[in-house]
């Protein structure tokens, strides 16, 4: 039996408003293991981590670290005790160098001054010891996302962390970068570090973990050895039922006569003086889902902004929505062509957080006759629409007057999808439609997208989640550096690592092959 480094005993967290985030959690973490904690959004993973890391105090129960009961007053205490945390949103200062980011809060001193030489030496030494291959004097703003993550891990190692908590570390990485991260984690493990890996990507959890603990609704569903658990059992533990995982079963294939919901022809644009999109051409047919895969920042956002008109940008080329050239049209005019849009930023672009569900659920069609009599809003009709949609979309709320911002991420997204669904679109852009929401809600959103597809809508799916793109789409294109790097006419025979090569720009198809995206 390995040595226990961290033990949670009946840890409970009740927030002042009465919400129980964690109840009687018992868990043990062994020294030198990679231990994953999985659960849906809002299951209580983050609260648990905050308690281990000293950001919040448990309401009851005890946390024992290295055989001693701990009561961390702040994360500083946890850091001193040898616990490090890599947050999902990087805690880095882009205009500082790597060294400065790492020594911040624990600076080597020479009299009253920062001892920069010593700082660089020590940081480089730690970096080299763990093979991070970083030039520690480089500015963080010049680094790729994967390297920034390395800096975060380095930060914990510099403070001699033995137990490292990684919160959704792969959500920003490509499959190849994730591979590299895993190699790194294994080498940390080999040097005696304990890794606490938090994720909702189950394939990755299965790949990296020695043991897995599951949390559902704030309650522990047990800790299992990875090899004694199948993927189906794991899913079942997380959501409390089986997931219908083959979405293709739900697809029906009516003939929509190859009609095009969207045609993009030779689209090019510049941002900040650099080409952001270069000669992009493709079409979305009615009754299909066209997926766009790619690492974030390869032109997807620019593409969506051109199509939706969300940003007034100058571009060359043509965007035709439901047979109408949209040149010069504003968002409203485009929406009047039966375009719908699920934006990536659900809090910023998708909803007005302080307003009730009932306002948010009609906000893209508030001028429509059924909710607007010309002079006044028809509040009865709005209430009815809201209540119906809340029911159909299983939005967890006590009333349609609840402020959208107080719902969980999954429920906010359901409100957005419900609203767009209710515009009865023939063309829809779904941008990262399930990003950061729980499996249950994500599954629901996927089914609604397929339902719309079956009814004849053309759907453009933009997602950084490869599984989502592959599972949901009929056809797939890959974007790299503002161009279409690959086109896959059948999403069913895509090999994920092959797709990754296109995403990273290691491979590119010929113009003829890519032409299929427009002409098939």
């Amino acid at each position: 039996m390995a040595e226990t480094i961290l033990k949670l005993d009946k840890v409970t967290k009740v927030y002042p408003n009465g919400t129980v985030a964690n109840r009687d959690i018992n868990m043990e973490f062994e020294k030198g293991e990679i231990h994953s904690i999985v659960g849906e959004n809002g299951a209580g993973k983050s609260t648990l981590m905050k308690m281990i890391f000293g950001i919040e105090a448990p309401s009851s129960g005890t946390i024992t670290y290295k055989g001693q009961e701990t009561h961390f007053a702040s994360s500083m205490d946890a850091i001193k005790a040898g616990i490090g945390m890599v947050h999902q949103h990087f805690m880095l200062i882009p205009s500082f160098s790597i060294v400065d980011n790492i020594i911040l809060g624990d600076e080597p001193k020479n009299g009253i001054f920062i001892d920069r030489k010593e700082a660089i030496r020590k940081t480089q030494e730690v970096s080299d010891k763990y093979n991070f291959e970083l030039d520690v004097t480089a500015k963080v703003s010049t680094l790729s996302v994967a390297k920034r993550q390395k800096v975060e891990i380095l930060k914990t190692l510099y403070r001699e962390a033995e137990l490292i908590i990684l919160d959704e570390p792969t959500s920003v990485l490509t499959p190849q970068e994730t591979e590299q991260l895993f190699v790194q984690l294994r080498s940390l493990q080999a040097q005696g570090h304990t890794i606490l890996f938090i994720s909702h990507k189950l394939e990755e959890v299965k790949k990296i973990s020695d043991r897995i603990s599951v949390i559902r609704n704030g309650v522990s569903k047990g800790t299992y050895r990875n090899d004694e658990l199948t993927m189906e059992q794991l899913t079942n533990l997380i959501i409390g039922r089986d997931l219908e995982n083959d979405l293709d079963e739900f697809k029906t294939n009516e003939d929509f006569h190859n009609e095009k919901a969207l045609i993009v022809e030779n689209l090019s644009m510049e941002r900040n003086g650099k080409p952001a999109l270069n000669n992009v051409s493709f079409a979305v047919k009615k009754g299909e889902i066209l997926g766009i895969a790619g690492v974030e920042g390869n032109g997807q956002v620019d593409l969506v902004r051109c199509i939706t008109g969300l940003e007034k940008i100058k571009y060359d080329g043509k965007i035709i929505i439901n047979n109408t050239d949209t040149t010069g049209m504003n968002i409203k005019a485009r929406r009047d062509l039966k375009m719908a849009y699920i934006p990536e930023d659900r809090m910023g672009d998708g909803t007005a957080g302080k307003l009730p569900i009932s306002d948010n659920i009609i906000s893209t069609y508030y001028t429509r006759d059924d909710v607007n009599s010309g002079m006044f809003m028809d509040s009865k009709a709005i209430d009815k629409i809201s209540d119906d949609l809340i029911k159909t979309f299983a939005v967890k709320t006590s009333s349609n007057k609840t402020a959208v911002g107080s719902l969980s991420g999954g429920n906010i997204q359901k409100v957005v999808v419900a609203r767009e669904y209710n515009t009865k679109p023939t063309f829809m852009i779904a941008e990262q439609p399930t990003h950061g929401i729980d499996i249950g809600s994500a599954e629901f959103v996927h089914h609604k997208l397929i339902e719309m597809r079956n009814a004849g809508a053309g759907i453009l799916l933009v997602s950084a989640d490869l599984n989502e793109v592959i599972d949901l789409s009929d056809r797939v294109i890959v974007m790299f550096d503002g161009e279409i790097a690959g086109y896959f006419p059948d999403a069913n025979d895509i090999n994920e690592s092959n797709l990754g090569m296109y995403m990273l720009g290691a491979k590119k198809q010929t113009a003829e092959e890519i032409g299929g995206a427009l002409n098939d």
Binding site: S74, S75, M76, I79, M85, H87, H89, F90, M91, L92, I93, P94, S95, F96, D100, N101, L104, G105, D106, E107, K109, I112, F113, I114, S141, K155, R271, N272, G273, K274
Partner: protein, 312 residues
């Protein structure tokens, strides 16, 4: 006539005027800069300068010792800054609103205290107060040109120069300064590095209050030996403008402050000449502020647009 004025701009005396004008603007600028670098906006520089100016005079009068007066002025400056810290960080008010409130009632409040002390509402001329003098530095004094610049300045001018250097070293070379900048650039990152962001910000506010109070006392204890109503007349705002133009760069901060001082110097030379309407000439420094703020925001807009810097 106009030729005379222009030729007077190229004389040593004009440079000395500019230096005199620069000190309070420099104080105001570092007052604005030090909080901004820690991520709090202190727009109450103007009012703290007013309080400091009055407290310095009344303190000197009451104690009969100008240095005791300076100490009282500093306490008032730091106290006002702590008030801002208390309202914004403890009670959760918007620091901008607190700044507006302080600035709005600074003039009236200072006149109220002036009236209590002197029975007058205009100036403290009736109070006989000791003042801070200037310092002649033997040796340097006799060097031509340079001697006139480096020697014979007011004590607070030397204090100002000294503080400019100390502040630079503190912000860019010490752990404390690095933590301050971290709080300004990404407070969450600072927090997770174990830095007490609130404490750092309170500290930066207090420093800001001290600097602003010194700027105010430069006006009342040095140049004219009295407090008069509205004497700060926008100098605090010039410091805030200089900080805005500097956008985090210490060099740009000093440069902008000096530039504003040059325009104040110009406006004084012109207003003595009576060629142009005095009111118009007095507005020159404010036009300069407006002009340079506009230019600087256009430049930063273009820089962001051209992709040279990441949008914050």
């Amino acid at each position: 006539m106009l030729g005379n004025i222009f030729s007077s701009l190229f004389k040593l005396s004009f440079l000395l005027t500019v230096l005199r004008m620069a000190t309070p603007i420099l104080f105001a600028s570092i007052a604005a800069f030090v909080t901004a670098s820690a991520g709090v906006a202190n727009i109450a520089v103007e009012s703290i300068m007013t309080f400091g100016a009055l407290a310095g005079i009344l303190g000197s009068y009451a104690t009969g010792n100008v240095w005791a007066g300076v100490a009282i002025g500093l306490v008032v400056g730091a106290g006002t800054a702590l008030l801002i810290a208390f309202f914004s960080m403890r009670l959760g008010a918007d620091p901008i609103l607190i700044g507006i409130a302080l600035n709005t009632f600074a003039d009236s409040l200072s006149i109220f205290f002036l009236y209590l002390a002197t029975g007058e509402k205009g100036t403290s001329a009736s109070l006989l107060t000791p003042t801070l003098g200037s310092v002649d530095i033997p040796g340097i004094k006799s060097i031509p040109v340079l001697g006139e610049i480096l020697s014979g300045q007011y004590i607070l001018t030397y204090v100002c120069w000294f503080l400019l250097i100390v502040l630079f070293i503190m912000i860019y070379k010490t752990p404390l300064g690095m933590r301050m900048r971290a709080c300004g650039l990404n407070a969450d990152a600072a927090k997770t590095a174990g830095i007490n962001v609130g404490r750092i910000r309170v500290f930066s506010l207090v420093l800001s209050g001290l600097f602003a109070a010194l700027g105010g006392m430069y006006l009342s204890l040095n140049s004219i030996h009295l407090f008069s109503k509205g004497m700060v007349s926008g100098l605090g705002w010039m410091g805030i403008a200089a900080n805005g133009i500097a956008n985090g760069s210490y060099g740009m901060l000093l440069l902008s402050a000096l530039l504003f001082a040059v325009f104040r110097g110009i406006s004084i030379v012109f207003s003595q000449s009576a060629v142009f309407p005095v009111d118009l000439v007095r507005a020159v420094p404010y036009f300069a502020v407006f002009f340079f703020l506009t230019i600087s925001s256009i430049i930063s807009y273009l820089r962001i647009k051209s992709g040279k810097v990441e949008e914050q």
